[in-house]
Symmetry: C2
Subunit: 244 residues, 2 copies
């Protein structure tokens, strides 16, 4: 976002990391502070969303325009999410004046399971001249790895990052690949089934879980300590590769 044309509109998806305000990058701070318009998704207009809260803690109170985003989950929610994104995109394109730059705050990384993707596509469909960019952010699993003290990847090991909304063959297959670290996002509700698969693959003892990472009540613990009931949606489960 260095060279700014007075005719163009600019939209930058800014990853603010998983929750710890110190995990914002210098680029994120600079972009937010210099933006003409700071936007943040929220599920209720009178309440700050998580990304806004993180930024507040990091750099104090700044004027934020809250964008209502319906976080309806799963395949059944996709149409609702799309129409929400389109409404938000229209609002942003209208608000933003030529030559102005908007920063859209998003937890984690804007290109990884983020509301920014859908929003950016909607903005592009309404006004293809809007210049869209992004700033990567620390992802929840990186924070969990750091806090668990594990080595995630070394030498020629690999990683599989999966979504645990459904527990299917993919997760089972991934756990069987012992040279791969396995990261499962959004698997909280299916924790009992995931624990069972991990047990069968001989990887339960190595597993870690982060529940509500980034919130005050966040918890990072080994999978064996968490019990077997479902936990919140926003959870991250990690297995390092099996090492001898």
């Amino acid at each position: 976002m260095d060279k700014v044309s007075i005719h163009k509109k600019y939209l930058c998806g800014v990853g603010v990391g998983p929750g710890d305000p110190k995990l914002l990058t210098l680029a994120a701070v600079e972009t937010i502070k210099s933006a003409d318009l700071v936007l943040a998704p929220t599920s209720a207009q009178d309440e700050p969303g998580r990304a806004e809260e993180i930024v507040r803690k990091a750099i104090g109170t700044i004027p934020v325009r809250r964008i209502l985003f319906d976080m309806a989950k799963g395949e059944s929610g996709i149409e609702l999410r799309k129409s929400t994104a389109l409404v938000a995109a229209k609002e942003i394109v209208t608000l933003l004046q030529p030559g102005e730059r908007a920063a859209f705050l998003t937890i984690g990384d804007p290109n990884v399971f983020s509301t920014f993707n859908l929003l950016a596509r909607s903005v592009a469909s309404i006004d293809p001249t809007v210049e869209i960019s992004s700033i990567p952010g620390i992802m929840a699993f990186q924070d969990l790895v750091s806090r668990s003290g594990m080595t995630l990847l070394d030498e020629e090991e690999s990683l599989r990052l999966l979504v645990g909304l459904q527990v299917d063959d993919k997760i089972e297959e991934a756990l069987k690949d012992s040279s791969s670290a396995v990261v499962i996002y959004k698997g909280g509700r299916n924790l009992p089934a995931i624990v069972e698969l991990a047990k069968r693959a001989g990887r339960l003892a190595d597993g870690w879980i982060g529940v509500k990472i980034g919130l005050e009540e966040s918890e990072v613990t080994s999978l064996q300590n968490i019990g077997t009931g479902p936990v919140g949606y926003l959870s991250t489960i990690i297995f390092p590769p099996r090492r001898l």
Copy 2:
């Protein structure tokens, strides 16, 4: 690293990101500035390593103790890397006084293919009382995704991160899984074989490559534009999931 005992020694692996000094986190900057000892790996004592160079650009010149690290690659190099790490670990444990905190700079994330892992294990084997922690950093592939403008993951897509030092069934299998994004690190020398596999899987047109990310001469381009010859070791190749 908030509460410091006057008896303990502290070693923190600090991820400084892929190269852009603005991709350092606030936590990284704070930890480096407040450390009693800043350590950085280098392959030659009279030259700064990449991590040190990034930090210099981000926060100016600071006293850095360079740690000689033999970056011998592959399985044949593991013994050499281990003995190098042990020598470095001894040096660090001796240098560091009780109550002091050392920051070990490392590109990317300290828990993902980093010299920090081996070093930390060596330090722990020499002096298990040293408290070891880490600060996550932006990884090269996140920077490449951002600069290519692609959406890496959305909805229920997944990711496979692999090392391309050998081109084997794993990479072929990963590319066949069309709902998975595929990231290949260290595959520069095997670029022709990887391009061939991508072509067969129908994913060549979507592929991107970042060569020497973080260096002045870095290049981010679509895989079809790079030609078919081998490129440098430090390259990142990315395929987003196939989307209709």
